[in-house]
Amino acid sequence: MRKTESNKAWLLVLPVFLLVAFSAIIPLMTVVNYSVQDIFGPGEAYWVGTEWFKEMLRSEDLRGAFVRQVIFSATILVIQIPLGIAIALAMPAKGWAASLSLVLVALPLLIPWNVVGTIWQIFARGDIGLGGWFVNDMMGIGYNYTADSLHAWITVVVMDIWHWTPLVVLLCYAGLRAIPDAFYQAAAIDGAGRWKVFRYIQLPKLRGVLLIAVLLRFMDSFMIYTEPFVLTGGGPGTATTFLSQQLVKIALGQFDLGPAAAYSIIYFLIILAASFVFYNIMVRVGRGDRA
């Protein structure tokens, strides 16, 4: 759209700016402030420079959490994106069945995150949960997510798939509905089969929403906190302790303000950088103007 040049528009943006500045800039300044000082109490702070940053970058805990985080985010992206596309393709396009599918799919997205954790905490338990009981007693696997690291991992991943694949489904579903019928008609006339329709029409047209889906899922999975906190509490040991949990542990658990602040800044920068890289790669890979 042709836009008018006008700096008066700033007046309209001002409320947002003030509000977000209050919520983002002041706390961020606090964080930066803490990250370079050692704080003993009110009014007792010493300049430590980049000491906390060095300590955090050397920290085994942080490195461990980072590796787990990367593996976790990669795993859920690899599963959720294809699964989400497949479900969106399978969903009915119109009528009551479409409405019903949409409502069902959206359901997990509107459950408070701690309740998601609770649901899976219960569901996956061997004694009172249907899922845990099924795996244990019907399949005869000695499954216990509170004691076995691998089981805990699988449970957290399955929970995340349950919780967030719907977002990918909804995005893809909306993307699919936006493809004009003429494309399918042309493909039918050109004698293209199901796979070719997907490969040459649907997938290229979904590029935009998939970009958003990958970015959102990457960002949100990188910030995951509440669900694994409720489900496994980060354990057993530190098996499912991701970056946010590690941070909360330092900040609120041990109240180590300096290290926590340094950690926060490193964490934020990683997400920003990764999102930026992701965005550019994906835009480049799928180049070709959108029709």
Binding site: A182, Q185, A186, I189, D190, I201, P204, G288, A291
Partner: protein
């Protein structure tokens, strides 16, 4: 290439059509000859897209049959019918190059590589797309994209027909005539059966050998552009084709002639007899503005009328006069004398048509 025939074809989008208005396409029965260029002309919602979709096989008619060269294809899929279609908005495969787009329908039919290459090269040449053949199709302009759509039909020499669904909608005006000329050229060279859907009379009349005019789900006339102009079979055709459209005046039967409503004017001779045959119908006479003459001075064969206005459109003039309750438009050559106040309208009886209940009777 094929002769396309419709037998008792009709379609309704409702499961249980009762009233005539429930039918998107009213029963029709006619044929298009092999190798002809046909236009389907009508306003939006007249059923032309429905008919097109039935021809291409995207839609199964509620009743009747579609025959290609005498073979019943009513139940066949678009792919099995072997047709090609160019849509209103460019439909191209974004991720492929121009050449790959053209090769796509051939590859899907498992044609040998060398043959594919040859055909694609031919189509590229014909459509003047060689300079961009290795470019990604997504970045091209709308008219180039429409050429690609057309090309996907041209590469297949066995197509029964190429269908065009208002293909120039998104093309810039100055490129429209180029693309239209290219279409004509393609038709003259390959003699495909072409079906062209449009609501623009100029496109239809310049493109087609025969025009099918549709109105409210019905085919009201099938004829050459000349026939549509000279003998509109339906009031709608008279009004829709030509610029400005045909003049219509309601009329009624008087003792021994045909009286024009609201005037003293009576037409005698064969009109009276024609009118008597349709005495129970709603009667109107119609005459094209091109066939009316206006004289500034009284003449024996002229009717006095009152001048309403003159529009000078460069190479011709439109003169509007009032005859009783009717406003009548005449198209006069640029150099014709323009009456000032009193205008004398001259009818040409051989170009005057009589309509009973909107249909041509004489």
């Amino acid at each position: 290439m094929a002769r396309i025939e419709f037998q008792r074809l009709a379609h309704s989008y409702l499961a249980d059509p009762v009233a005539p208005a429930d039918w998107a396409l009213k029963e029709l029965d006619f044929a298009w000859e092999d190798g002809g260029a046909y236009a389907l002309l009508g306003p939006s919602g007249c059923g032309k897209s429905t008919l097109l979709n039935i021809i291409s096989g995207l839609l199964r008619p509620s009743q009747g049959r579609v025959l290609y060269d005498g073979k019943d294809v009513t139940g066949l899929s678009p792919a099995a019918r072997n047709i090609a279609q160019v849509f209103q908005f460019p439909v191209i495969y974004d991720t492929m190059t121009v050449a790959e787009n053209l090769a796509f329908p051939l590859r899907n039919r498992r044609m040998p590589r060398a043959e594919v290459r040859k055909r694609v090269a031919e189509a590229l040449e014909m459509l003047e797309l060689q300079p961009v053949q290795n470019r990604r199709a997504a970045g091209l302009t709308a008219d180039q994209k429409q050429k690609i759509s057309m090309g996907r039909g041209l590469v297949r020499d066995d197509v029964a027909a190429i269908l065009f669904d208002e293909p120039l909608t998104v093309i810039d005006p100055h490129l429209k005539w180029q693309l239209r000329r290219k279409l004509k050229e393609v038709h003259e060279r390959f003699h495909h059966t072409l079906v062209y859907v449009t609501h623009d009379q100029n496109e239809a009349l310049t493109f087609a050998d025969k025009v099918v005019v549709m109105y409210e789900g019905e085919v009201v006339q099938l004829g050459t552009p000349q026939e549509l102009f000279e003998r509109p079979a339906h009031r709608f055709v008279g009004y829709f084709i030509g610029s400005p459209g045909m003049n219509f005046m309601g009329c009624h039967l008087v003792e021994d002639g045909l009286g024009i409503d609201g005037t003293e004017l009576v037409l005698y001779g064969h009109w009276a007899e024609l009118a008597r045959r349709h005495a129970k119908s709603r009667l109107a006479i119609g005459i094209r503005p091109e066939f009316l003459d206006i004289s500034p001075t009284p003449r024996d064969d002229a009717v006095p009328t009152r001048l309403m206005g003159v529009q000078d459109l460069g190479n011709f003039k439109l003169v509007t006069v009032r005859l009783g309750p009717h406003e009548v438009v005449a198209k006069l050559p640029e150099d014709a004398p323009v009456p000032t106040d009193e205008a004398h309208l001259v009818f040409q009886p051989e170009w005057t048509r009589l309509y009973a209940d909107d249909r041509l009777v004489g």
